[in-house]
Symmetry: C2
Subunit: 313 residues, 2 copies
């Protein structure tokens, strides 16, 4: 059966390292937990035509299907450990599978994260990854622990993948290195795993920015029963993004696929976070403050409007 051949592309991704552990090859995988740890489990699905364009590069699809899950693990402050792949595809196309599995491999490599199992079925292209991680007991970063007066931060820059998507839909022609970069950000997101690990016992709450900065920050606010004030001028937007979102900056703040971390921390941590940014070589911008009044206000938007009520919420 041609589908049996598929395994050959995934077996090399399945090396476990602990004695007594098992990846692919039995009814299930077998994993020994580290001492005093909690398991973090996340699942994200990518569907052709919904989460990526049908003609997308299979290497990028493989990369992204794991990276979006790594981003969720990062937001929990967890150390990526292993993942499963449920892959549904119309036919066993060797060049596609070779590139797809290479994308997965390269994305997993920095974490020595084995593919421990899954299922391959025939059907319309759909990729679902369940990624798992370990975090010391009680140290996971949660959405619900933001405190009144905390600073709000975001890593990297916002809206680039949104610009990238617009460019990809228009045929992928770019006219500047910033636009090239925006396309790369869309196709090969870099999960902020090292940042997430460093934020344990430092951030009060965290979330990954996958649905847009405002929508995701709003999840923190709802889980913590608090509100927030952001300063548009402090939100990191590249010139290309500013240019794209000129008429309506909120479209950059509502664009998805950033895979940055948004987090809160006590103001007495400002220096530590500044140092961390230097250490990781990753910009971290302080963009606002947690306040008592519910809602999310972005100062600097026309009319200083309360952004609750936008489609996302």
């Amino acid at each position: 059966m041609e589908f049996d051949l598929i395994e050959q592309y995934f077996k090399p991704l399945s090396q476990t390292t602990r004695p007594g552990d098992l990846a692919i090859g039995d009814d299930g995988a077998l994993i020994t937990p580290p001492e005093n740890s909690q398991l973090v489990v996340v699942t994200d699905t990518l569907v052709s035509g919904v989460h990526f364009l049908a003609q997308a590069n299979p290497y990028d699809i493989g990369w992204k299907s794991l990276a979006v899950n790594l981003s969720d693990l990062a937001a929990m402050g967890a150390q990526p450990a292993f993942y499963s792949l449920a892959l549904t595809l119309p036919s066993a196309d060797p060049p596609w599978l070779e590139a797809f599995s290479r994308g997965l491999h390269d994305c997993a490599k920095p974490y020595a994260m084995p593919l421990i199992g899954g299922d391959t079925t025939r059907g319309p292209l759909c990729i679902s990854v369940t990624a798992q991680a370990w975090v010391p007991k009680g140290e996971a970063l949660l959405r619900s622990r933001a405190k009144l007066g905390d600073d709000i931060y975001v890593s990297g820059a916002i809206g680039e993948a949104g610009l990238g998507l617009m460019l990809a839909k228009a045929g992928g022609l770019t006219s500047s290195t910033q636009e090239d970069y925006a396309l790369t950000r869309l196709n090969r997101p870099q999960a902020r795993v090292s940042l997430g690990l460093a934020l344990r016992n430092l951030a009060s709450s965290a979330i990954d920015v996958s649905d847009g900065l405002l929508a995701d920050l709003n999840h923190i606010l709802q889980a913590s029963n608090l509100g927030a004030q952001l300063y548009l001028a402090d939100i990191p937007l590249s010139d290309a993004v500013k240019n794209w979102a000129q008429a309506n900056p909120i479209q950059a703040l509502n664009a998805g696929d950033d895979y940055e971390l948004c987090f809160t921390a006590n103001p007495n941590q400002r220096q530590v976070i500044k140092d961390l940014s230097g250490l990781l070589g990753l910009p971290i911008h302080r963009i606002g403050k947690i306040r008592q009044a519910p809602g999310l206000v972005v100062e600097g938007l026309v009319g200083d409007k309360d952004v609750r009520g936008y489609e996302h919420f």
Copy 2:
């Protein structure tokens, strides 16, 4: 967004019981491992038109999408603990979702197994469940530990789901209670979880019968580097299945979807296994023996033929 409403069907399935654990509601789920345990992870995907008929009852689809995973956990001798759901569906149809989630709920209930997360996306109907379980360290049942001279057993009866599939494809008309039962076996398989738990430290190897008895037993043989001899007369086939497979009994042994356990044990365990069958109220038949010579021989088949070489292998 209509897809946000979907959560309402799944939230009630997500109650965790340990303090400090989290199911749905953050970037990921958070689970505390029991002491001295290993984690077992399995993933099975059901695709419309491939694993179930497009017109199938959504309650049954929900039930089966979890049950097939429970069956893999059972084959590892593991205690089901929690599961994630990656659900891709063309539209948010409330009656379908209500029935589907009820099927999941009812299947998970005996194990108090919460739904801890997942992803819901729009696309062609595809259901992927990752189910997880705990097993005491070193006690998981593996495929690779069958020993020369071991007895081979199978629980329940074989080929009923195969008959059921034939009946379902023909429009679901049945003419006997045995045929009714065959349809039920197809649509609402019962994973042999209690049997799997009881087989720890008793069976030498185990697998769940999902691709057909011969194909699955062959996985044990290959993993253990041994062969087997089965006795057709000892393989549990109902009269309805015998009748269906009269011309070619091997079609019952190659039919999928049985979700029984096939396992091996030392002959000195015969009485213990007989008692266990009584205790569980589940037939367990001794159907053959592990032998040195590679291959799988079924005595009683026309020509006593070595079944290696059939399509499945």
